[in-house]
């Protein structure tokens, strides 16, 4: 049957059937936006978080790159030459001052790389020591928070998902660890670990890292996972009542599968945020342990040990305390601001 025309006023020749190309143009699929992409977009819009991210990146990259080409090294005492008496003129140089032999070279027309922050009491270039200390502090912060992240997530998700007696026992252990005075425990544990670990790691590659740093990591692994695991447990407790978890159980999935595939991916934003906020706290802990002499081993600097050494000459060389303190503050501040930005960007409950 021939179709009736709708109206005589419309000239049907004006309309052509759409070609395949036209159809393709009309039917366009929007790029599938994931949760992660959305979060990054929001993070990028947040000026403060973005700037602090840049600051962290600049500090981290320079602490890795600069030691590679800097003419001085963190352990090299410039006044000590093999076969010659110690040249004390290199000790305690002010910024942009030079030692005796360097001054002779400059007078002879040669160029000598300046000591930006002077040298310390043993004649070591202070700038490279700060850079190296930053590297150590950042590395300690990062690894410690990774350790905390792994242990906290594992224990928290097991406790939250299985509930009942498992939950009860784990949470009481957490309560006990919480009730210990953590500063005291950190100091005691690092003192004990330092003694026991030193003979154990002698001769292994771990020796280079030093017993102090390893004991620091152990302290973190033992004490600092509790708040993370409480956080994760709380998240999992609410997530496991979701219907998709029941749906996964109905397909016959086991607990470990459900935790890995359903629960952790759904609280990953909380995990990332609290890990980002854990880094500054780890850096702080490392700093005050180093300040108390329980941190990194002697020639290796960290920001805390640099500050601690600077205390002796505080009235003559105050900048030696100010510089590492400023770097610590800068790192901790920008990590905290970045962590806040991460939370704003990734926490779905704060979405507008």
């Amino acid at each position: 049957m021939k179709k009736k025309r709708f109206t005589f006023h419309v000239d049907l020749d004006m309309f052509n059937p759409a070609s395949e190309k036209d159809k393709e143009y009309m039917v366009q699929m929007r790029e599938s936006s994931t949760f992660f992409k959305d979060g990054v977009k929001r993070l990028y819009k947040n000026k403060i978080a973005f700037v602090s991210f840049l600051v962290i990146v600049i500090i981290a990259v320079s602490s890795i790159v600069i030691p590679a080409f800097w003419p001085y090294s963190y352990e090299n005492q410039l006044g000590v030459q093999p076969g010659k008496p110690v040249d004390a003129s290199y000790n305690n140089l002010k910024p942009f001052e030079y030692g005796r032999t360097e001054q002779m070279k400059i007078d002879g027309g040669e160029k000598v790389f300046p000591h930006l922050f002077g040298t310390d009491s043993a004649g070591r270039d202070y700038f490279i020591r700060v850079v190296y200390g930053t590297r150590v502090s950042l590395a300690v912060g990062l690894f410690a928070s990774i350790i905390v992240l792994i242990i906290g997530t594992l224990i928290g998700s097991i406790s939250g998902y299985f509930g009942g007696k498992v939950d009860l026992i784990i949470m009481r252990i957490v309560d006990i660890i919480y009730s210990l005075p953590d500063m005291l425990m950190v100091i005691l544990l690092s003192a004990v670990f330092k003694l026991t670990l030193t003979p154990v790691i002698a001769g292994t590659p771990l020796e280079k890292i030093g017993a102090n740093i390893i004991s620091l990591f152990l302290v973190f692994a033992l004490l600092y996972w509790v708040s993370m695991s409480r956080l994760i447990r709380g998240q999992i407790l609410s997530l496991r009542e979701q219907e998709y978890v029941l749906s996964a159980q109905a397909t016959g999935a086991k607990g470990s599968w459900i935790i890995r595939k359903h629960l952790i991916p759904n609280c990953i934003s909380v995990v990332i945020i609290s890990a980002a906020l854990q880094i500054p706290s780890a850096i702080f802990t490392e700093s005050y342990l180093s300040f108390l002499g329980l941190g990194v081993n002697a020639p290796m600097p960290s920001l805390g040990s640099l500050a601690s050494e600077a205390l002796n000459g505080l009235s003559s060389y105050p900048y030696r305390l100010v510089i590492p303190a400023v770097v610590i503050s800068l790192i901790v501040l920008s990590l905290n601001l970045f962590g806040d930005g991460l939370r704003d960007a990734f926490d779905p409950k704060l979405n507008n």
Binding site: S247, A248, A250, W257
Partner: protein
């Protein structure tokens, strides 16, 4: 289409939940109390009842998502008891959930959601086989293959429910518990999804336990219908029989509430309105659970629980006075 071999048999199923009523006291909530029925291969059993009467609990307990307090569940004549049995059983029995918004993980793509049962049971040996199976399933339920890489939140309710159905079909089951699969959908979409259930049943020889509270939907899809009240099954009969000759007073009032599209017929239809509310399952009435709201209740109803007996072939009812009432 249904032959008479039962694929699922439920015997004296009980499911009690402990509810804390005080600091150290708890009381059992009898969500499902002593229910027996069987579902034949290829048939659809509709399960109706008002909110909180235990329909969903029956469905979930059959799949052992809750541990049954008492009673036995047989699949294909075999008792499901040990963990290994349950794991094997889950390859044969799956579930479609009510809410298509919360039953799909928002962090997973459609192909991962549909493929999860395959991964859990390691049914596919290669990635290519898995992908092909997923596309085949998506084709069954009328989804485009381009949708495979998208996330569940990008779909409408009807499409999401199709994803849920494809997921339930992934392991090639014989039996599917449909827990109010259409009540969260628009009426027009409901029709599409229900027709799809019908088509899939014919094509794949599926058996359904269809839980719903929309009586017209249940009548359309079911071969037999069971009516539940307060954790008990009060009537069970073929779909036509229960609509034309309901015997239990509760079924009667339930069916009188079904809206009739013809206004003349609707005016002629007398609605039986029940007095009072459904009692709390925490303190259920003695004897017949329905007696507090029943117009025909007598002393006997308070004394003893009526037996669930067959009054005519295939028509079961639990009422002391069923004969008198229906003359």
């Amino acid at each position: 289409m249904a032959d008479n071999k039962p694929i699922i048999e439920v015997k004296n199923l009980k499911e009690y939940f402990n509810i804390n009523t005080g600091l150290f006291r708890s009381k059992p909530l009898k969500a499902v109390d002593d229910i027996s029925f069987s579902i034949n291969k290829g048939e659809t059993l509709g399960l109706v009842g008002e909110s909180g009467c235990g329909k969903t609990t029956v469905g979930r307990t059959i799949l052992h998502l809750y541990n049954p307090t008492a009673g036995e569940i047989f699949y294909d004549g075999k008792l499901i008891k040990s963990k290994a049995d349950i794991r094997e059983f889950r390859k044969k029995a799956t579930m479609v959930f009510q809410d298509p918004y919360s039953s799909l993980n928002p962090r997973m793509t459609v192909s991962d959601i549909i493929g999860e049962p395959l991964d859990v049971h390691k049914l596919c040996s290669s990635k290519k086989e898995r992908q092909e199976r997923i596309l085949e399933l998506m084709d069954y339920v009328g989804l485009n293959s381009e949708h495979a890489a998208r996330y569940a939140h990008e779909f409408s309710g009807g499409q999401r429910q199709r994803i849920g159905i494809a997921r339930a079909l992934a392991v090639n089951p014989d039996f599917i518990v449909c827990d109010e699969p259409v009540s969260a959908l628009d009426v027009s979409i409901q029709a599409q999804v229900i027709n799809m259930f019908d088509e899939l049943q014919e094509k794949l020889g599926l058996t359904y336990l269809f839980i719903a509270h929309d009586l017209l939907v249940v009548r359309h899809i079911s071969d037999r219908i069971a009516v539940m009240y307060l954790g008990h099954m009060v009537e069970l009969a073929s779909a036509g029989e229960i609509y034309d000759h309901p015997l239990h007073p509760y079924s009667k009032s339930l069916l009188s509430a079904v809206p009739v599209p013809d206004p003349k017929a609707a005016r002629a239809n007398k609605r039986i309105v029940l007095s009072g509310d459904i009692p709390s399952p925490l303190n259920a009435p003695s004897g017949c659970p329905f007696r507090t709201r029943c117009a025909y209740a007598c002393d006997r109803c308070a004394e003893s629980m009526p037996e669930f007996k067959e009054v005519s072939p295939g028509h079961f009812v639990a009422c002391h006075r069923a004969d008198e009432i229906n003359g």
